[in-house]
Point group: C2
Chain length 144, copies 2
Amino acid sequence: MACDLCKLLAAPGAALVWADHQLSVVAVDETEYPGFTRVVWNAHVKEMTDLAPLERTRVMDVVWAVEAAQRAIMGPEKINLASFGNMTPHVHWHVIPRYRDDAHFPNPTWAPAARASTPEVLAARRALLPALHAAIIENLKASS
Amino acid sequence: MACDLCKLLAAPGAALVWADHQLSVVAVDETEYPGFTRVVWNAHVKEMTDLAPLERTRVMDVVWAVEAAQRAIMGPEKINLASFGNMTPHVHWHVIPRYRDDAHFPNPTWAPAARASTPEVLAARRALLPALHAAIIENLKASS
C-alpha cells in the first residue's frame, strides 16, 4: 500500500467528514485554508475517465455537495476545484473556499503566496468548521 | 462585456475547437503545454453550483470527452483538471495533459517552474494537435 491516499483511507482518524462504499470526504488540515476539503474515490483508480460514467457523476455530485456547503456556511469569494494526482495518482478532488484576503488570491493556492493571512480572520473561518461539516453531511444525506 | 471569457466567446477565432448552445471547447495557446484545452460554459455563470444539476453533468461530460481525447492521442503521464475563476468568475475548466518532463511536473502548472522543456519534445506534442482536436470533436459527436 504505497499510495498516500490508500493509507489515509485505511486509517482516516479525525479528518474523515463522511464516507460511503465509493467515496470519502476528508477535512484538509492546511493552516491558511480553513474549510479546504478533499473528495476521494475509495478505490485506487488513476483518472476520472477510468471510472464508469455513472461513477464519475457520483464523484462530482459529492464535489457539488461540498461546494454548496462551503458557499452556504463560509460565504467565500469563489470556490476552487482541482484534480491533479501527479504525485498521488488516486482520484481525488480539492474543494477550496477562496477569499480576497487569503494567502494567494487571486492566484491558485499552488502559486507563490501573495500575502500573509491575519490570525483573527483564520480563527473566524476555523470556527465555522463544525457547521461546515454538518452541512456537508446534510447535503450528502439529501443527495443519496 | 468586461469578462475576458465573454469577449473570447464573442470572437473565438482559431482557438475554438468545438461549440454548441451551452459550451465551447477552446485550444489554449501556452507554449509549455501543447494540448492544454479549456471547456467554457457559454453563459456568464460564476460557480458550478449556480448551474442546474443536468447542466453540471453536461459540463463534466464535455470535460471527460476532452480528457479521453488527450489520453488517446497524447498519452500523457496524468491529466490535470481545474476550475478556479478567481480572476475570471465565468465557469470554465482547464484540462491539461501532463508529462514527467514538463516544466512543472509533478507540481500543478501554477507552481513555480521546475525545469525548461526541450523544444523538440514540445514540437512533437504540438504535431499531435490536429489529431487531438479531431478526437475531441469525434468524442463530442458520440456523446451528444
